[in-house]
């Protein structure tokens, strides 16, 4: 992705040591050792700026939104809708195109239901890929079962890239939606989403991008991408859990049926039938995660303050360094060697189970994820039980990667004795 490599010379350097002080959890010890947190692709840590925003909300704002006439309710509504604008601006979308969800998973399920109910019929085809997270597979399998539609998978190469020629062959008059990940959570691959979208649009097929692993690392512009649906999770961008975003183009949202029924999403309720609000409220039944929504905008402000380019530059340095150092370890094979990658290095060591490596790294205070990372089809394809996945953030350091490399060597020594 161009944002990862452009203008290295002029992008400012992050003051990582000072930034680390803003994340209280980074100074805890685990099994008596300083924490090295390399599980950022699963969830990111939170800066004080975000943590304090949560208590400030409950101390000074807490009230329900969109209903009361009283001061606090209008204050909460105001902050809730201002947050929507902040998030919209971040993605270069209109606020009406931003739907609050519980996370990426719910965002995808929402589209699978609300778009699927209207636009998918028997025999239609939906294209996803072999590198999808389970949350971008299962909702489509469920939709296809419900509608007797067909799910097609774009295959991937040994290095972990989409086979674009195969994708072109899969696109047909039957295709009604393409749903792929922007960045792979288990391989780190940054997919050529501009090309994926252009090819689909040439056949009038809308595209959903799972941006859960992209928004923490890449500047995303939904207008420039011309993407139809885009989603991401708050907790992976230094915000709270239980909040996520679905962007949808108004032209689709207006046609889609509600996802859930309840308060907030209705215009009028009669005993015979009800009418619904315009998007986005149509898709936000019930009292929303008000605190989460407001604090997600705070987290995005925090990231923008650091600068996405500066974040990307530092993370790329970590990725390159980790790739080089880990690759030098005898018997270590990196899983996912795409040309363009987010800061994720997943690997296996010949003859050793990823679980064993993970347990030993944990004893050394190093948090990694082991297993299939909710992408079982990738593991089946590569015939491996899983990988050890390290994923970096802007608050990680070169010294921490050195600790990891020493830890991996120690684990090998212990396990191969």
């Amino acid at each position: 992705m161009d944002t990862m490599v452009k203008d290295k010379a002029i992008t400012k350097e992050l003051d990582v040591e000072n930034i680390r002080n803003e994340f209280p959890i980074l100074s805890v010890t685990v099994h008596g050792k300083p924490l090295v947190y390399f599980d950022n692709a699963a969830s990111s840590q939170k800066p004080l700026f975000v943590i304090k925003a949560i208590s400030t909300y409950y101390e000074t704002v807490n009230s329900n939104v969109h209903r009361g006439v009283h001061h606090l309710s209008s204050l909460a509504t105001d902050q809730f809708e201002t947050a929507r604008k902040t998030i919209a601006t971040h993605l270069n979308a209109n606020p009406d195109e931003i739907i609050y969800t519980r996370g990426t998973t719910e965002a995808i399920n929402l589209v699978a239901f609300s778009y699927g109910e209207v636009f998918i019929k028997e025999g239609d085809e939906i294209i996803i890929s072999q590198m999808e997270h389970h949350s971008n597979i299962v909702p489509w399998q469920m939709l296809c079962q419900r509608k007797k539609a067909v799910l097609k998978y774009i295959p991937i190469t040994d290095s972990g890239e989409l086979k674009m020629d195969e994708y072109k062959k899969l696109l047909s008059a039957k295709t009604k939606l393409v749903a792929v990940t922007h960045v792979s959570n288990s391989l780190g691959t940054i997919n050529p989403v501009e090309e994926i979208i252009a090819l689909a649009h040439a056949k009038n097929v809308p595209v959903l991008l799972d941006g859960a692993q992209a928004v923490p690392h890449i500047k995303v512009d939904v207008k420039k991408l011309d993407v139809d649906f885009y989603c991401f999770s708050g907790h992976k961008v230094y915000g709270p859990t239980g909040i996520g975003i679905l962007f949808g183009k108004t032209k689709w949202l207006k046609e889609m049926v509600p996802y859930q029924g309840g308060g907030e999403m209705i215009k009028e309720v009669k005993l015979e039938a009800s009418t619904y609000q315009e998007p986005p409220l149509r898709f936000e039944a019930g009292t929303p995660n008000i605190e989460g929504s407001i604090v997600l905008a705070t987290a995005i402000d925090y990231m923008n303050n650091l600068g996405i380019d500066a974040i990307a530059k530092h993370e790329h340095k970590l990725l390159d360094y980790a790739t080089e150092k880990l690759r030098a370890i005898e018997g270590l094979k990196i899983v996912g060697q795409a040309k363009y990658k987010a800061p994720v290095v997943a690997f296996n060591i010949e003859g050793l189970h990823p679980y064993d490596i993970g347990v030993i790294l944990d004893q050394l205070g190093i948090a990694v994820r082991t297993g299939h990372h909710c992408t079982q089809p990738i593991m089946d394809l590569y015939c491996i039980p899983g990988t050890v996945r390290t994923s970096f953030s802007f608050y990680n350091t070169i010294a921490e990667i050195d600790t990891l490399v020493e830890g991996v060597k120690k684990a090998i020594k212990m396990l191969k004795k």
Partner: protein, 140 residues
């Protein structure tokens, strides 16, 4: 040796180690001594599925005592499995059912029993208890 005695013996062996590395190296070593399951039993029916590492377990009753053979694809899991097998193998279904498995806590390995570890150890213990229950029912 009773289950309690076998537990005490194992806990005693671990008391010799004062650092985690030695402890884990010993777990790995114990795994090498597990009575290995016959390859022919490494099928779906004998697989205990953790999310990450696999455990295979076979049990049979001889003269009223249950004997286990097992294996795992991960070395640390295999060591943990070996410990469970060593403590419980060769006892009656009733004795196995009443074992509290507290030795795992005493050795400081309780975190390996958490479901988030998904290493199959917890499911294995559950399976052992279910088998023991079934055997004791048959006996009755």
């Amino acid at each position: 040796m009773s289950i309690e005695e076998a537990e005490r013996e194992l806990v005693g062996e671990f008391e010799l180690f004062d650092d985690w590395m030695a402890k884990y190296e010993y777990i790995i070593d114990l795994g090498k001594d597990v009575p290995l399951i016959d390859e022919k039993y490494k099928d779906e029916a004998h697989t205990i599925k953790g999310c990450q590492s696999k455990v295979w377990l076979h049990s049979e009753v001889k003269d009223g005592f249950i004997y286990y053979t097992a294996d795992s694809d991960a070395m640390i899991t295999k060591g943990l499995v070996a410990m469970v097998v060593r403590v419980l193998s060769g006892h009656t279904p009733e004795q196995i059912l009443s074992a509290d498995m507290n030795f795992i806590n005493k050795i400081g390995l309780h975190e390996h029993l958490s479901p988030t570890r998904s290493n199959g150890l917890m499911s294995m213990i559950k399976q052992i208890k279910l088998d023991a229950l079934a055997y004791s029912a048959i006996k009755r």
